[in-house]
Subunit: 210 residues, 2 copies
DNA sequence: TTGATAACCAAGCGCTTGCTTGGTAGCGTT
DNA sequence: AACGCTACCAAGCAAGCGCTTGGTTATCAA
């Protein structure tokens, strides 16, 4: 695992996905199952889980609704798998970004950028589902996803602790993730206002003033 | 309006509600319509709008599902009215709290406490619906609620601007509301850990360090 | 006493939902 | 040629959904 992460340190997004597919962590995006997961992620993010029907997802990839259940046991099973792949890809991306940043403060900035890019669909389609649709998951599925999310959060806390020794990293992270996720409902990265990089800098200034 | 707010400056929560009921802003909580709104607010907050059925709401107040439509035009009409009353009550409460706080920093602390109490159901049941269930509202209902929400946000921005001159109050408010709302999914005010007042202080320290 | 009104019940309609079933076309392997 | 496997279709079921309809009861003013 550690070795694999190290080996991936200089990979492009495309190659990172390929590597994770070979490891069996992600589903190949051009497979029927992968196309369904991607379509579901897009729709869940756009309309929400309950407002997205299996017929919507099927139509998105050009099959009939019943055929979905050849690939997944239930609608919730789709959501569960979306979350599992999303959280693992997001963490791989973040580890990659952290490794490239020199100073503790640069590492924190990289994490913030990383998550903002994920939230706004520029890098990890479906990331915001992890937070927004948490209640749509059954208790035991939550447990399963939580294990991987804990690892993701642990990485964050390490970075925060290094950049801001003294403050409570867990609390800071919780306030931070709320602030970042909420940008989903007001920030438009393609707009002519604030750019994503500028927003990241403002967030860094707020949570870790120089 | 200004006069009414001034007159309410020393009122208890109970009397504040009564005053707003007489003004026609809120529905009397012990009326059939009021009971339905309160039950709906609780359920929407607990399970989400789409996962709450009109049968759930009806059962909560002890009537049959069809009877709901004697009081409301549609299920969305219930959500709209919940939001309209919630945002107006929340603002009245906040104005009240701000008026009692002496310094700009105290006013900001009061706002943070106010909103935390609202989010965690200690003062304004259904407050988190305003943010979480925004997408469940039709476009024209959003427009209607937005007018009142803008007033609420404007009050916030004034307080932020006074406490932290120089920083962008709108951006700060957006990051802050995200951080606060997200506490809904991890902070338990009745737990033995952090108290709500302590949490408010930590948030104040983060967004407005001395 | 009458009539208006608010609040509700009983029953169910029309639609959408997640999901099931039985079958088939295409493909690579032996 | 026969087989097995993956991916899918065609059709529809059972349940749940928001909402409608027609009628009943209680309250209160005129």
């Amino acid at each position: 695992m550690r070795v694999a992460e190290g080996q991936r340190a200089d990979l492009s997004p495309r190659k990172l996905v390929d590597a994770m597919v070979s490891e069996g962590v992600l589903t190949a995006p051009d497979s029927p199952r992968g196309r369904l997961l991607n379509a579901a992620a897009r729709l869940f993010e756009q309309k929400g889980f309950t407002r997205t029907t299996v017929r919507d997802i099927a139509a998105e990839v050009g099959i009939l609704s019943g055929s979905i259940f050849h690939h997944f046991a239930s609608k919730e099973d789709i959501l569960r798998n979306v979350m599992l792949e999303v959280v693992q890809y997001a963490q791989a991306r973040m580890i990659h970004a952290v490794a490239r940043a020199p100073t503790p403060r640069d590492k924190l900035r990289a994490c913030i950028r990383c998550e903002l890019e994920a939230i706004h669909g520029l890098a990890v389609p479906g990331f915001s589902i992890l937070v927004i649709e948490w209640r749509s998951l059954s208790a035991q599925s939550q447990k399963q996803v939580l294990k991987l999310r804990d690892a993701y959060e642990a990485t964050w806390c390490e970075v925060i602790d290094a950049a801001r020794p003294g403050v409570d990293p867990a609390l800071t992270r919780r306030l931070l993730v709320g602030a970042l996720i909420h940008t989903h409902s007001w920030f438009k990265p393609r707009g002519k206002g604030l750019s994503l990089e500028e927003l990241a800098e403002q967030v860094l200034q707020t949570f870790a003033p120089e």
